[in-house]
């Protein structure tokens, strides 16, 4: 990696750091804003998790270099995300199961 490339990386890391700090401030501010409809907290949860997902993407893409990785790692992660989504939907299946009684 050339020194020019490293300089570009350093600028990028500094910018991502600033975006992450802004994201953290927004997460805290958003928790005090009332996004809720009909006593449901779903709106606040959606906004909070959306900001967290954007922050997570910034860390993974830039610090973990996932924006320019080898195919093998993308395949491993896609398989993992598939099983993770399945795992997160198990509670939903539980709720659907109780509807039939």
């Amino acid at each position: 990696m050339s020194n020019k490339n490293l300089g570009h990386h350093i600028t990028n890391y500094r910018n991502v750091f600033i975006y992450l700090l802004i994201g953290t401030a927004l997460t805290v501010i958003a928790s005090y804003v009332d996004f809720n409809v009909k006593d449901s907290i779903a709106g606040a949860i959606f906004v909070g998790l959306l900001i967290a997902t954007i922050k997570g993407y910034l860390v993974a893409a830039n610090f973990m270099h996932l924006n320019s990785e080898k195919k093998m790692i993308y395949w491993i992660l896609m398989l993992t995300v598939f099983f993770l989504v399945l795992l997160l939907f198990i509670p939903l299946l539980w709720n659907l199961n109780s509807l039939s009684y």
Binding site: M1, T24, G48, A60, L77, L87, L88, W94
Partner: protein
């Protein structure tokens, strides 16, 4: 016997072996925390009130008091991720002094995180909010405790790479740089988990 593919890339994967190894490990870590996040969704959607009201009432007021501590810890972990990646850049620039400074800062940030967590735990336990108090507290201590253990594990590895492990730089500098990249991937993952724990445990209640 020399271990192959420590520095040179394998033709089939395009990666050096420890990088493939750490990503497989991180995949298993995603499933570990994923299982606990799934438990969180199940318990939260099934509870009539969140956080549940136990023997000492609801944790909600105490949680509002701890938001500044948790926000401070979030900033500290983000800072530690930046210094971690800068330690790797310093090795690419062949600047060992800068590497030690950045990695040292990462370790200090990790220790500050644990100290803040200690005070946070003490306060909650002192007020009677122990893991057995309600399902929220059980999840809170399990998730933050497991995350804290990952921080402790990270400190041990990073302290080795800052101290005795640095001798590899003299004999195999490229292999040592790869070690830092791999340790960094683990550290950024620990930061990433906290990015999700922070809103779901402290803010969205």
């Amino acid at each position: 016997m020399e271990i192959p593919y420590n520095v040179e890339l394998r033709e089939d994967t395009g990666l050096y072996n420890s990088k493939l190894g750490i990503w497989l490990f991180l995949a298993s870590e995603i499933m570990l925390f994923g299982g606990l996040f799934s438990a969180y969704i199940l318990l939260r959607t099934g509870a009539p009130v969140w956080p549940p009201i136990g023997e000492h009432g609801s944790i909600i007021h105490l949680l509002k008091d701890t938001i500044p501590h948790a926000t401070f810890n979030t900033v500290i972990l983000i800072l530690s991720s930046v210094t971690m990646v800068m330690a790797w850049v310093a090795l690419k620039q062949k600047n060992l002094g800068k590497y030690k400074m950045y990695l040292g800062t990462t370790i200090v940030c990790a220790l500050i995180f644990l100290v803040v967590k200690y005070f946070e735990y003490s306060h909650k336990i002192h007020e009677g909010f122990v893991p057995a108090h309600d399902t929220y507290m059980a999840l809170y201590f399990t998730l933050t405790g497991l995350h804290g253990l990952h921080i402790v594990g990270g400190i041990v590895v990073l302290a080795y790479l800052w101290g005795p492990g640095i001798s590899m730089w003299n004999s195999e500098p490229e292999r040592f740089t790869n070690r830092i990249e791999v340790a960094g991937l683990y550290w950024h993952f620990v930061d990433l988990v906290w990015i999700f724990l922070f809103p779901i445990l402290y803010l969205l209640n």
